[in-house]
Symmetry: C2
Amino acid sequence: MSFATIAPITLQPLPSRTRELAVAPLKTVCSSCHLRDLCLPCGLTGDETESLDRLKFGRRKIAAGQTLYRAGARFEFVYAVRSGTFKSSLLLAGGREQVSGFHMAGELMGLDGVANGVHASSATALEDTEVCAIHYGNLSELAAQSGNLQMVLARLMSREIVREHSLMMLLGSMNAEERLAAFLLNLSQRLKARGYSPSEFHLRMSRAEIGSYLGMKLETVSRTFSAFQQQRLLDVDKKHVRIIDIDGLTRAFEARVH
Amino acid sequence: MSFATIAPITLQPLPSRTRELAVAPLKTVCSSCHLRDLCLPCGLTGDETESLDRLKFGRRKIAAGQTLYRAGARFEFVYAVRSGTFKSSLLLAGGREQVSGFHMAGELMGLDGVANGVHASSATALEDTEVCAIHYGNLSELAAQSGNLQMVLARLMSREIVREHSLMMLLGSMNAEERLAAFLLNLSQRLKARGYSPSEFHLRMSRAEIGSYLGMKLETVSRTFSAFQQQRLLDVDKKHVRIIDIDGLTRAFEARVH
DNA sequence: CGTGGCCTTGAAGAATCTCAAATAATGTGG
DNA sequence: CCACATTATTTGAGATTCTTCAAGGCCACG
């Protein structure tokens, strides 16, 4: 849904080798991207953003259910989501998976691979998606020349750390209702930042995936949705959610009081 | 305990302004630090490590129970633990705290402040400690000149992300015994890497702090310790732990099978 | 129109939490 | 140096939350 593609795309599984022929209007560049304020260029000056354009990102489409990269694979690219939704997950002993995050347009994936040169998690498309593949080596080379880009990169990584902090807090100290409320409010916020309705949306992930992410069983997720519906906080119908009482939901989330 | 101080130390609450007078043998430099293989210089060449020496770290002692920085305070320094143990924590609504990590010699604290220029968590000394205060602005300036240092920094941040990934996995999918086993094994490993006994050590943190970190109540931590003792996996006496059967403990941790 | 996947709901069971009390360890002030 | 206050830990018993197991409904798809 909402494939705001700017131009026809050719599949480019690896870094683009297309030398710019003529005035190719199809190139993927940051400076004219509609996501530039959410994505990598956020906080850069116009000039610096244009320097990003030199990186010539490869663009890839990933169909629903396909994986973009797997844990253990060599780390070479970070990926910026152009459209659609991804989940990140780790594989646990026993074949089960632990979902560690959901990613939407403008968000960067794969930074956990920098640590060891190997992806620490897998990324799977939850719907048909499109990403920019950014060669990390080239990116950090460019960063070495631009102090500002270096800073932006450092901030993005740090933000990831902070994000996980709050998730830990969630997992470490909240009950089922608080967890689901926090999840929905976070989703709502991010959708709003992208110009979508913050109060009515489609969940791209299954109950089991939400449960894995929030540290609860899928049945508990389902029951908690039903409970919220009975409390008239929201309407749920399968994957369709409409938040009726955002303040009430916020209170449910803040029920961290004694 | 084990304050392996190399030289007398003067308290330096803020970045050192001491110009090197004569051949001051007291300066804190990375190149001759006994922690250099665990800490920031890990992975750098000798030359690069010496370039770190130019940063002239301030050195600070923090007494047990004192905080090094608080969540919300302006972010200016990252800190390398020289000796002793810290906890990082977030303050939750209702005045309770969520412990998000424990840090020992050679580990870097404060990188979560890069995201917003403000510390996202607080750091509190669990015993008398000593740290190097590293001015982040200077550090990243230096990194801009040395591609390798830039890489090391990026790796350190990424490692933090990976660390939190596995903590999420722990919180999201393990029961009390698995959590405590994972915690003890991790501690054991880190102590070993620092030349201490991996099988016998003093816990620097309280049951409540362990519980907060692992997402369980202090009574459950205590009961789980007792359970391990009954299973003859370890001996516990208050804060003193002796691991008897590390394989058994590892199995308890891997009990993630169906 | 049948099949499989996903979701919901119920009921029983298990794990963890809460409350409570006893003990041990630690620090304080006289 | 002792009596007392305070804090940390352990353990028990009952309450609560969440999970497990099971069954049934809905929907998309072939």
